[in-house]
């Protein structure tokens, strides 16, 4: 695993979503790596996300890629756009839909803590 990936996953173990921002041009790389994909600077600084996100895309996986994920089937796979503007892949609760406002909790699976997003505020009770 790259150093940037280790720091990202250590963040998840500490219940936070970490991201890099370029110290020169301010861009957030589409995923953590040791340089800025736009200006090329190596002066990147780690930050911690507010945890607020919006669901960009959602699927429910019924057929797992390998034995490690078979016990989780069916599981919700999300792309979440965090309030700071970057997108991450994550898991979600079954009732989460595209465009919902969500927040993560962190659930251990196969030696990592995966962000699992749930609705920020539960929907109002049906009338």
């Amino acid at each position: 695993m790259s150093d940037a990936a280790s720091i990202y996953w250590e963040g998840c173990a500490a219940q936070e979503i970490r991201f890099l921002r370029c110290g020169e041009c301010g861009r957030i790389p589409s995923y953590p790596r040791p340089f800025c994909e736009r200006c090329g600077s190596h002066r990147l600084v780690w930050h911690v996300s507010s945890g607020r996100g919006r669901v960009e895309a959602r699927t429910v996986v019924y057929r797992a890629p390998n034995a490690k994920f078979e016990p989780l089937v069916p599981y919700v796979l999300l792309l979440v756009r965090m309030a700071e503007g970057f997108i991450i892949m994550a898991h979600g609760e079954l009732d989460v839909a595209v465009n919902d406002e969500v927040r993560p909790r962190f659930v251990e699976h196969d030696g990592r803590f995966l962000p699992v997003f749930a609705l920020s505020s539960p929907p109002p009770p049906a009338p």
Partner: protein, 378 residues
């Protein structure tokens, strides 16, 4: 100098437990040489893709030796599902430049019977990002399903809208003797098939097939002259987490450059073949390439626009969804079918005379896109 498609060949697609990668490549090549009226000695270049069931690091030279070819130019090309289209683009440039005279392009793989299910799913999903995607257990259907979920949300599409494309592909495949799946299906059949990755059910997904396909690209036209009039690529990203947009996929950049090279307009296209790993892939490409307006692809399909009598027949061999998918050869069938329709070689499937065809392919998750314009020349 101009580059021409001189001939094409394919094996049957489906479950062929007696075949392997090299035998499928050889079978397709024999058929393509016969169609092109060329012999082994005429082939001075070999381009091939990859095979997940035979991951040889030098597949092109391994095949050339196996089949009995001694080319002066020979290597593999890997761009995932668009490998065949990328190889045809390269062959055109090699012929245009005078480097080669008769280029063999070949793919083949026993993807259905040559590996167990677990290793297949894992190998294919390994195109995902190892650190930031794979830990969440995505599959290839799941990657496309994510993209589809956003697109369907933006334009109000339902699972029923996706299903009409599965039905159309099966209708076309029912006319092709070499197709993997030929029994016609209904929208209800698609909706009743088992869920794979929402919104995709089994019949929204292409199968894994055994099969081979080959083309001969030449500096001289054949009896039914079909030229490679334009070719271009676009590479907007590799991973879904790095996609810049879930509405614009970059295919238009490639298509417009290919049309410019061909000196043609989109409106002149009278046949097309678009990569159709999933029903949503087809729907998205129709709209992203500007072949129909955003939000109108399913309606246009129901209206018959992409059928045999429609304005733009689409994947008339049945596509990956029903003709079948064996990796590189699966993507090559789109090219072969458009060639055959333009050359008048499509037998029972032959439409009326066709003049200008588009083939658009992608590898990854809309990651590596290739547009090719084929023209029937008198």
């Amino acid at each position: 100098m101009a580059a021409w498609i001189l001939g094409a060949g394919n094996t049957a697609f489906g479950k062929l437990p007696r075949e392997d990668t090299l035998s499928l490549m050889a079978g397709a090549t024999e058929a393509a040489l016969l169609d092109a009226k060329r012999t082994r000695r005429d082939i001075d270049a070999v381009l091939c893709g990859y095979s997940t069931t035979f991951p040889h690091p030098m597949l092109a030279s391994a095949f050339a030796e196996h089949f009995g070819l001694t080319p002066t130019y020979c290597h593999a090309v890997h761009t995932g599902g668009s490998s065949a289209a990328a190889m045809v683009m390269l062959a055109k440039r090699l012929v245009d430049a005078g480097q080669c005279r008769n280029v063999l392009i070949v793919g083949g793989e026993n993807r259905a019977t040559g590996a167990n299910r677990g290793s297949k799913l894992e190998t294919l999903a390994s195109a995902g990002h190892a650190d930031f995607e794979a830990p969440f257990g995505p599959t290839v259907p799941a990657y496309f399903a994510l993209v589809a979920s956003r697109y369907m949300h933006e334009f109000g599409y339902s699972s029923r809208d996706l299903a009409v494309f599965a039905v159309l592909m099966r209708d076309y495949a029912s006319r092709h003797p070499d197709a993997h799946y030929r029994a016609t299906i209904s929208v209800e059949d698609v909706l009743a098939s088992r869920p794979i990755a929402e919104p995709f059910r089994l019949l929204d997904c292409c199968p894994m097939s055994d099969g081979g396909a080959a083309l001969v690209i030449s500096d001289r036209p054949g009896e039914a002259p079909v030229s490679l009039a334009g070719a271009a690529q676009a590479h907007p990203h590799q991973h879904v987490i790095a996609m810049r947009s879930f509405v614009e996929f970059g295919g238009k950049t490639a298509l417009e450059a290919a049309l410019r090279e061909a000196g043609a307009d989109r409106e002149e296209l009278d046949i097309c073949a678009l990569y159709d790993s999933f029903t949503a892939t087809l729907l998205i490409f129709l709209e992203d390439l500007g072949l129909v307006a955003r939000g109108e692809a399913a309606q246009a399909c129901r209206r018959g626009d992409f059928g045999r009598q429609g304005r733009l027949p689409l994947n008339t061999h049945g596509g990956l969804l029903s003709f079948g998918h064996s990796g590189v050869a699966g993507g090559m069938n789109h090219l072969i079918e458009v060639y055959r329709q333009l050359a008048g070689k499509a037998q029972d499937r032959q439409l009326g005379r066709r003049n200008l065809g588009l083939v658009h392919a992608e590898g990854g998750i809309f990651s590596t896109q290739v547009s090719l314009i084929l023209r029937r020349v008198e």
